[in-house]
Subunit: 142 residues, 4 copies
DNA sequence: GTGGTCTAGACCACT
DNA sequence: GTGGTCTAGACCACA
């Protein structure tokens, strides 16, 4: 799969992530490449994926997901532009060391904040009881 | 705020709604017409807008929002197809009497459910403490 | 080409830039989309293109340059991600207002700095006389 | 800096070059093998490296730079094809005697010319004052 | 009309 | 083997 000829040249590459780290909802209106981007962002922020981890190759992911390699490539490129992935030319992509630091709990919570705010606005427009909304969310989080 | 342009004295004290009942985030990735549709649905379900209320004209809304009249027209047409608005020939759109009934609290909560579920999924991927997420939402709902 | 139906809906759109603002060296090893990106960055920094200016459409540029629309689209998308362009959905791209501010002379000089530093390193490795290098550059800048 | 590993006493006091004569920017978009080629060309033209000097082995350079030996080998092969390096069977590569002559100052300046022209073009697109550009370069060349 | 997404396939550069 | 670039063409959503 990824034959290493000279062991020491990828000192920073920890492990190769499996091609099935991405889970795509093909029915969703959200573009495939965008689903991939947001998933990887969360995986990194949550610590499931660490800096230096070797990403599965574009072709591997493409076959695993049954999508066109260009679609995967687009996601990778955008993640590279974002600083989350780094290219090892001729070798593949790795999770960037600097950017992919653990976010602490507070930082991760901040990532959810804008989405929570949207919920709050909608709940108010619906004139819902705060307690009922909170109870529903609490139930889902179990 | 609620300036009445043409006093329309009909049965059951209904009002003419102002052109600024919609609040559009032009920067959002959500289409304008869809923002309008969902806002009106919530306003009706929450009771801020009642059956028989007169909608502002396409042109009024378009200028108030700085949006293409075609976009407003599209939203109105879809809401009409949905049964939430009704066309009164020569008089413009009014909120439909039959469809636009108060939803009770449980029904309104159901409208929020899918969005809450998205939040729950994201919170789990971020490995957030349920208590922290709930506390944040509770704070926003005050 | 760009028929405006209702004049007031694009208050911030100053003028439509011609499709030939880009000059592509097809022989270059530098990718087409990257040439476009760097050219627009410089045009904005230099003030030749201002915030609010309407970009020519993807299809116009593509035919003017004789390249695939997707190539132009890629450049536009990356420039949007960079904040230099903004999408007006259904209407096309405009130069972003916030990002596309005049750079003053000092700021523009900073854009050239890294490239100049590369030159300096190379000149030293070639053990060139500073005066000769400077004279050559001065001649080219006339 | 110039540590001699194996004293090789041949005609015309030539040295063994250290494995760290190359300085690679792995983050650069310029390919590693190309960086190596251009650096060696400049070092030879500038006289820091002379005909007959012994190049460090592929393996030495690869480990010193943390680069794949194939990459170093590719650079060496291309430099050999160019005539700048020569293969001494069983002894490794040496800098070629015939090709690796001092370039006089004018010839070396010519090597820098294309890069300077790129700078000039960019400076014009940025509408920079020639004097300011020249001053900045002069400062760097000190 | 606008841009966005995805597919299929070819070719290239780098390691 | 790796990713990058470009083309050609189809389909969609938005205004």
């Amino acid at each position: 799969m990824h034959t290493v000829i000279f062991g020491r040249h990828l000192a920073s590459m920890n492990r190769d992530l499996p091609p099935d780290i991405f889970h795509i909802a093909t029915g969703s209106s959200e573009p495939i490449y965008r689903q991939m981007i947001e998933q990887l962002r969360r995986l990194v922020a949550g610590g499931q994926v660490k800096g230096g981890d070797g990403m599965p190759s574009v072709r591997e992911v493409a076959t695993a997901l049954g999508v066109n390699p260009m679609t995967v490539s687009k996601a990778y490129s955008l993640l590279e532009g974002e600083g989350l992935l780094a290219r090892r030319r001729g070798l593949g992509m790795v999770v960037a060391e600097r950017e992919a630091q653990f976010h602490d709990h507070a930082a991760r919570l901040l990532l959810l904040q804008p989405n929570l705010e949207r919920i709050a606005v909608e709940a108010k427009q619906l004139e819902l009881e705060p307690a009922a909304v909170i109870a529903m969310l609490a139930d889902m989080l179990k």
